[in-house]
Amino acid sequence: MHNWDVVLVLGIVTVGTYAFKISGLLLSDRLVNSGKVRLFLDSLPATLLISLVVPAIIEEGVKGLLAAILIVWCMYATKNALVAMTVGIVCIAVSRQLIG
């Protein structure tokens, strides 16, 4: 393939992705003084995380739900994120071996 094609693809994706990131940050700087927008912005981290994990858990089915419950329980019991995360990953790995 042509070298310029590679440069063009990488260039478009690089500039575009960076533009998404910096424009999101700068736009929120502008908007944050409005009370309503502030509530919207404040809620974004959690809703983004939920939109990322809920479909992933449900797609995994019973294994995913079991792992999620175990992680929350571990977090509650040990207050250690690393332990909870490891337990969740091991739970998924083992249940995939057992259930398929």
Partner: protein
């Protein structure tokens, strides 16, 4: 003014906090690197992509679509669609950059991806956090991803599937540990539930990972209804 331990510590803390999730990043880097050889990508192209595109999902997609002749428009549009979520994610980073100069914003925002983004916002819940924490996490991920992809490039496809070890669940597991710390009270119920339901539904209909963007937008828009956040406004 906010107090940070020190700039050097912030970078180091961010770097160290990202190490656990980096095991998963390395494993996917290995697969991505091996795939890039199969699809005729050169090492220099792979390295440029690691540094400049920076985002696992987008890079995976680009490597998968990498074929001669290069479909310039197709690959670019597909990768940008995958990365559109960064717009909303970086909007949410506002509190992290509140005391930053423009040059810092321009420099540190580039190495933003889900793991260090989530860790930074989670840390911000309990202590003052600077953008250097985010950046330190980003550098750690860059090392992990580059180490993984370069190893995968030379070791080839003899590697096994990270899914066997549950490593594809690492990011999800990390986020589940973070979410409870973001709960503020009953005013969160509606936005969170709407985000959950909408992301699930949109996943059936929307291409790529646009469901993340759609679910989050739908959920967060719920905060604009005043009767729901009455107690927060008070």
């Amino acid at each position: 003014m906010r107090y940070f331990r020190s700039m050097k510590h912030e970078f180091k803390d961010g770097f160290l906090a990202t190490i656990p999730i980096s095991f998963s990043i390395v494993s996917f880097g290995l697969v991505c690197g091996a795939l890039s050889v199969q699809n005729g990508m050169s090492l220099s192209e792979l390295l440029l992509m690691n540094v400049f595109v920076f985002g696992g999902a987008g890079q995976f997609l680009m490597v998968e679509m990498w074929d001669a002749p290069l479909d310039i428009l197709g690959i670019s549009m597909a990768a940008l669609l995958i990365n559109l979520r960064y717009f909303l994610m970086c909007m949410a980073l506002h509190p992290l950059f509140v005391n930053s100069r423009m040059i810092e914003k321009l420099a540190y925002i580039h190495l933003t991806a889900e793991p260090n983004w989530a860790l930074s916002l989670s840390r911000l819940e309990t202590q003052p956090t600077s953008p250097l924490f985010l950046f330190g996490g980003g550098v750690c991920m860059l090392f992990a991803w580059s180490g993984g992809t370069i190893s995968g490039y030379f070791l080839g496809s003899s590697l096994s599937n990270p899914a066997i070890y549950g490593l594809d669940f690492a990011l999800v597991a990390m986020i589940i540990t973070i979410l409870p710390g973001m709960y503020r009270g009953s005013q969160n119920w509606l936005p969170w539930c709407v985000a959950a339901v909408c992301s699930l539904l949109l996943k059936q209909w929307l291409p790529g990972n646009l469901y993340i963007l759609g679910g989050a937008l739908a959920g967060s828009l719920m905060t604009l209804f005043p009767h729901i956040n009455g107690e927060k406004n008070a």
